[in-house]
């Protein structure tokens, strides 16, 4: 190889290394931009909101006076709605996922259904609100209640549960299925004894992630007519008198934390904005805890069941 050629190759190599370095820098900058924006937002929210947090804030109803206002009805409402959402979405989503993965014949119809489930996850949430207004509120007569809200959010996050359930099931190696079938298990026994237990970690993760998505939803709940100012709690589910258990709370009106936030932000007084920030901090903390739990569960199950 001649000397001049060596020089040429070296120069070219240097140019390639520079390009490499440049791309790494651009990538890092993009990452930092995303992270810093998020951190700045969270910092700002925390700086405004955290000083307002107190037990009183959690234990008071909203009020005309910003400093006497609290989020009692909002967090109780959120909890109730989430309970309904979970009860509705877990059995339906998991069963649908198991069916699609283990039972459904692999044909064009199944492919179309699969495609539609993925698309369903991308539908704007307000559309679900409109659908729920027509179906649950008017058609079924559930009213503007916790039940309506829970079912609406359940439908909204159903695709997430179905998709994550399927992914968790698909991670189970086929050799395990064959091992179970080979000793004479029926399909239902395989699902019951193997498929669901071994994918439970992934399924649980999907459920938590779907609930943490639902907890922050505002638009569909406003559409179905959630109240923005509410100074009472739903009927308690248990009472001292017969029949002791009551489901009246399902039909009660409600508000949830993001709607409470939205209400306070839209007021002119800055004190209410502080309340909104404090609510935001709590909502964010709840979401973080839920996602943290999801990551932990996934980690635990991965350690227990590895293929």
């Amino acid at each position: 190889m001649s000397r001049s050629e060596m020089v040429r190759i070296e120069r070219h190599l240097n140019r390639r290394k520079v390009a490499d370095f440049l791309f790494a820098m651009v990538g890092l900058l993009c990452l930092l931009f995303a992270l810093l924006t998020l951190l700045a937002l969270m910092y700002d929210l925390a700086r405004t909101g955290v000083p307002r947090l107190s037990l009183d804030f959690l234990a008071s109803f909203p009020s005309r006076f910003a400093d006497r206002s609290g989020i009692l009805s909002a967090w109780v409402g959120t909890l109730c709605v989430m309970a309904v959402t979970a009860v509705a979405v877990i059995p339906v989503g998991v069963a649908a996922g198991v069916y699609l993965e283990e039972y459904a014949p692999k044909n064009a119809l199944t492919a179309i259904i699969e495609l539609n489930i993925i698309n369903l996850a991308a539908i704007p949430s307000i559309t679900f609100g409109l659908m729920a207004l027509g179906l649950f509120v008017y058609e079924f007569g559930f009213g503007q209640s916790i039940l309506t809200a829970g079912l609406t959010l359940g439908l909204l996050v159903l695709p997430i549960v179905i998709v994550t359930t399927r992914e968790a099931i698909r991670a189970i190696p086929n050799t395990i299925r064959e091992a179970a079938y080979a000793v004479g298990a029926s399909k239902w026994q395989v699902v019951q004894h193997h498929i669901v237990p071994y994918s439970a970690g992934g399924i649980l993760t999907g459920i938590i992630i779907s609930l943490s998505r639902a907890i922050g939803e505002t638009a569909p709940l406003i559409t179905i007519g959630a109240l923005t100012f509410i100074a009472f709690l739903p009927t308690p589910p248990v009472s001292g008198d017969a029949p002791y258990v009551s489901f009246q709370w399902l039909m009660d009106p409600f508000t949830v934390m993001p709607i409470q936030m939205f209400n306070w932000v839209s007021r002119p007084q800055p004190e209410f904005h502080v309340n909104a920030a404090a609510t935001g901090v709590i909502l964010l903390a709840m979401t973080l805890v839920m996602n943290g739990a999801a990551i932990y569960i996934r980690y635990r199950f991965r350690k227990r069941v590895k293929w």
Binding site: P105, K106, T175, I176, E178, Y181, G184, A185, S186, R304
Partner: protein, 266 residues
């Protein structure tokens, strides 16, 4: 096509446990097993040998209707269980029933991520056996048959995934034996194992034939020669030659069998 050697025809007084009659099997329009006929003798080890893709595993998986789990598969011909002459491929027999009578050990150890005990007991559980004492006895018997009892008797509650590869495979054998199968199918059971575990399992398979009929698919010619009583050589989906193992290995009738066992191809 079948070039049955003389020993097989008389079979030295061995009793047939099953007979494959003109069995063909296809995935979609691809025929993988082509009109195979061969006997399976009771309490003997029958080995299926042949190069990769010759259809030996596919043939083995017909025995417990494993192909029924997948779409677009078709059996033609019969596998008759003797002496009752019941065709297990017939569509009016539930594949679950077939799998309860004919169990299988796979290429890669595939224990369930459950305890050692539950792995072996699983076959009884799916049958709805509830009696604790019976399950415990059976698990111990099966683990002993698989030569694993002494190694695991103190930790039956431990996860099966904590066992070594060779132990896992013996656990899978115990799982296959726990339900008292009439035939045990072994699909290259040692291909994923080290030589010591392999020797262990070969020894075990030979002792098992005292009361179980075994069909084993193997890639390893020496293994077939060491442990089997009968050998079938398959090539491109056809059974080229079937006979007593010593005869087939020393005096093959077909040129292709000879080429294969002398290492000229495969």
């Amino acid at each position: 096509m079948v070039n049955t050697t003389q020993e097989a025809a008389t079979a030295g007084g061995d009793e047939m446990r099953a007979e494959i009659r003109r069995l063909s099997f296809s995935y979609g329009d691809k025929t993988v097993v082509k009109s195979v006929s061969m006997p399976i003798y009771k309490d003997r080890i029958t080995a299926l040998i042949g190069p990769s893709g010759c259809g030996k595993t596919t043939l083995l998986r017909c025995f417990n209707r494993m192909h029924d789990l997948y779409n677009d598969t078709e059996y033609e011909g019969e596998i008759a269980l003797l002496p009752e002459n019941r065709n297990i491929l017939s569509s009016d027999i539930d594949p679950i029933e077939v799998r309860m009578r004919i169990s299988m050990v796979f290429q890669k150890p595939n224990p369930f991520p459950k305890s050692i005990f539950e792995n072996v007991a699983y076959g009884l559980r799916v049958r709805g056996v509830k009696r604790r004492s019976f399950i415990e006895e059976t698990v111990e018997r099966a683990l002993a048959q698989a030569g694993l009892w002494n190694e695991v008797k103190d930790r039956l509650g431990a996860s099966a995934l904590a066992l070594s590869g060779g132990q896992q495979q013996r656990l899978c054998i115990a799982r296959a034996l726990a339900t008292d199968p009439e035939i045990v199918l072994l699909d290259e059971p040692t291909s994923a194992l080290d030589p010591i575990s392999t020797a262990h399992i070969e020894e075990l398979v030979v002792t098992l034939k005292q009361n179980v009929t075994i069909v084993i698919v193997t890639h390893n010619l020496h293994q077939a020669a060491r442990i089997s009583d009968y050998t079938g050589f398959m090539y491109l989906g056809e059974l080229i030659e079937f006979g007593r193992t010593p005869g087939l290995f020393t005096k093959p009738k077909d040129a292709r069998t000879e080429s294969y066992i002398t290492g000229r191809f495969g």
